[in-house]
């Protein structure tokens, strides 16, 4: 940093005794070194560093008129230079040249690191740093794009955040992304061959920014196939915030997974209920229509058979209920309707016989 005095030199020359350092030639020597440094820095235009060195020299030689004069001169020069930079910055802002304005504000601050107007200008008036627009090509991911511009896949999050992408974005070929320059990171505007792969990268695409713990609990329960718990957790998230998009997505995943799992286990009733609930949230979801048809067919068959079983046990009313349920699922089920008619006929005859 510019403020750092080259004190290593001083260390060599420093004398250990109190008297010699403070009263004698040691102090003189130190002051001379700082003085020489200040002169060189001022010549080089490093006004701030020159002022610092002069102030250190003045600490050693408080009464040296030449040093006092140099300090006053440097302060005046800095003031003028800052005013000039501020003027340039304002002019650049007027032209909409934000990067140029930014540079002038930074120069003003480097000259006077506590200069409030330059600081405020930098914060409030300078819009953006450099951006390029990248058109997505086939096979690209945020990671590969970050590798292309920064030589570092793990910077993909910057692109993610600037473009306000959803949490697990699927990049569409031909879509345009804004890729910003990151201060302090190389920015490769033209493609380079074989970006250095030896640079450490963060494993996996670093995209999901953060997870709600309740959502995490739900996800966890889903992994354990504890669907009831998963649904309860996600419903709690959604009850407090119906716009919780991650929660809403997760609920769909849970319902789908529940429907499919129970279908495989031939627990058609639960399967069908889950799938119907999912269809209410989103009618088109993967192979939902097909699964629902299978679940419905399975459930129809199951309840129809249950009706037959009850009929054989002469539990006619219960059998009718089952077949009615079948008709609700499948209004054109031929056997169910016929069986109900048959059972009702028998019931009617039984009824008449009892009355007699």
């Amino acid at each position: 940093m510019t403020a750092r005095p080259a004190l290593a030199l001083l260390a060599v020359l420093a004398l250990s005794g109190c008297a010699t350092l403070l009263g004698g030639p040691g102090r003189q020597t130190l002051a001379d070194i700082e003085r020489a440094k200040a002169e060189r820095l001022e010549r080089d235009g490093a006004l701030r560093a020159a002022l610092e060195a002069t102030t250190v020299a003045l600490t050693l030689e408080p009464d040296d008129p030449a040093l006092r004069e140099r300090k006053a001169r440097l302060e005046a020069r800095i003031e003028r230079a800052v005013a000039e930079q501020m003027q340039h910055a304002r002019a650049a802002l007027g032209r909409g040249a934000y990067l140029e304005a930014r540079r002038h504000f930074l120069m003003a601050l480097a000259l006077d690191p506590g200069h409030a107007p330059a600081f405020e200008g930098l914060r409030n008036e300078v819009k953006e740093v450099r951006f390029v627009t990248h058109i997505v090509r086939a096979g690209e991911s945020l990671g590969s794009i970050a590798q292309r511009y920064y030589g570092d896949r793990s910077r993909s999050e910057v692109i993610w955040e600037i473009n306000q992408l959803p949490r697990n974005p699927r990049l569409t070929v031909g879509a345009s992304l804004r890729v910003p320059e990151i201060p302090g990171v190389p920015f490769y505007l033209s493609p380079r061959e074989g970006a250095d792969p030896s640079r450490g990268t963060i494993p996996r695409d670093d995209l999901a920014p953060e997870i709600d713990p309740l959502v995490a609990e739900a996800r966890d329960a889903l992994e354990r196939k504890n669907f009831a718990e998963a649904l309860a957790s996600v419903d709690r998230v959604l009850a407090s915030n119906p716009y919780h998009s991650e929660g809403a997505e997760l609920k769909k995943t849970i319902l789908y997974s529940l429907g499919k799992t129970r279908l495989g286990e031939r627990r058609y009733d639960e399967s069908y209920q889950a799938l119907v609930q999912l269809a209410k949230l989103t009618p088109r979801y993967d192979d939902l229509t097909d699964l629902t048809r299978q679940a419905r067919a399975g459930l129809v068959q199951q309840r129809y058979n249950e009706g037959v079983r009850l009929y054989r046990e002469e539990k006619l009313e219960q059998a009718i209920d089952e077949w009615k349920a079948v008709l609700e699922l499948d209004p054109r089920h031929p056997s169910a309707r016929k069986n109900i008619e048959q059972a009702e006929l028998i019931l009617k005859k039984l009824d008449e016989r009892t009355k007699r």
């Binding site: 403020a3 420093a14 350092l21 009263g23 910057v158 201060p183 963060i202 920014p209 953060e210 998009s245």
Partner: protein, 334 residues
């Protein structure tokens, strides 16, 4: 510690130095102090055997924690005997802007900590401890969010290797795994809690925990009520969005007021996500700053409602972790 008290402390150190500087005018007296020269801006001393920057800071600036001022100004971490040391008595670069670039202050974000890493947001206790010790042994200076905020207003110069630590959501594991390490290393930290989670079960901190932590100097700040994405959602009208934002922030602030006796001053946007309406609403609700999860350090002139944070994930190696500790943006501006 405010900028004013920093100056005060520096001034008090100056007095001490004046007293010690007696031998400047009476060179023949026995040397009780050390060779010292002082102006309004600097104290110049010669290091003696066994001196540390902390010792000099304690002695001349009145606070050992100001060792960084000596280290940064002289660009050293260790002193050798006979070395001339320039001790700055006041901040000399509050914005951290130099002709070759500018200072960045990384804000690191953790979530849950467990005995073992799990997924990307539950970091293993061992890895966490290693990361904290890395900061210590590599001379990073952990500062509070409050101090960063002063830096962002040009009111406080920060150490060149300043880093801020934050913990999101309010997991109970903070007490078991982070608290002892942070206490031991004297690292300040900020917890961002969303109020629906506080006290919601065995994995969550409750308000009593938070009140204790707050009293101990761990900063407790806001993370909304429900942790829902604050940005306007597709299909949500502007009016509905405004209503939802108000509800999220007001409900959370009411609880802060009730349970901690003060509102939250900073808001970590859930998922780090905020659009212009969210930024404006956060500012209008009286917050002093808002934090995203944009993975980059903060220049002093970063917008106050877009403070950047770098999330530390469980699967990161120590090398990955270190990539989040960049404290300088080289940018030659001449």
């Amino acid at each position: 510690m405010s900028a004013a008290s920093l100056r005060l402390r520096v001034a008090a150190g100056g007095l001490a130095a004046l007293a010690l500087g007696a031998c400047a005018t009476a060179a023949k007296l026995p040397v009780v102090g050390r060779p010292t020269l002082e102006s309004a801006d600097f104290i110049v001393v010669t290091a003696r055997w066994g001196d540390t920057t902390a010792e000099l800071a304690r002695r001349f600036l009145g606070d050992a924690r100001l060792a960084w001022m000596i280290e940064d100004y002289n660009d050293v971490t260790k002193l050798s005997r006979g070395q001339t040391v320039v001790i700055p008595k006041r901040p000399w670069n509050p914005s951290g802007v130099y002709t070759n670039g500018y200072q960045l202050v990384p804000v690191l974000t953790y979530h849950d900590i467990g005995p073992q890493a799990k997924g990307r947001l539950v970091i293993g206790a061992k890895a966490f401890g290693e990361q904290m010790h890395y900061l210590k042994t590599h001379n990073y200076r952990v500062v509070s969010l409050e101090e960063l905020h002063e830096f962002l207003q040009l009111k406080r110069q920060l150490p060149r290797r300043a880093v801020v630590l934050t913990f999101d959501d309010g997991h109970r594991s903070f007490l078991e795994y982070a608290y002892p390490v942070l206490k031991d290393l004297r690292f300040p930290a900020t917890l961002f809690v969303y109020t629906d989670y506080v006290g919601s079960g065995r994995n969550a901190l409750d308000w009593d925990d938070l009140a204790r932590l707050d009293a101990e100097g761990f900063q407790v700040e806001g993370h909304t009520k429900t942790h829902g994405d604050l940005r306007r959602q597709p299909g949500e009208s502007e009016a509905d969005h405004a209503r939802r934002l108000r509800a999220e922030l007001e409900a959370s602030q009411r609880l802060f007021q009730q349970r901690l006796g003060r509102p939250a001053r900073f808001l970590a946007y859930p998922y780090g996500a905020a659009d212009d309406a969210v930024l404006a609403h956060t500012r209008d609700s009286g917050f002093l700053g808002g934090l995203t999860v944009f993975r980059e350090g903060n220049a002093s002139f970063v917008p106050l409602f877009r403070i950047r944070r770098s999330q530390i994930y469980a699967e990161m190696t120590l090398e990955d972790f270190v990539k989040n500790l960049n404290t300088f943006a080289p940018e030659p501006i001449k």
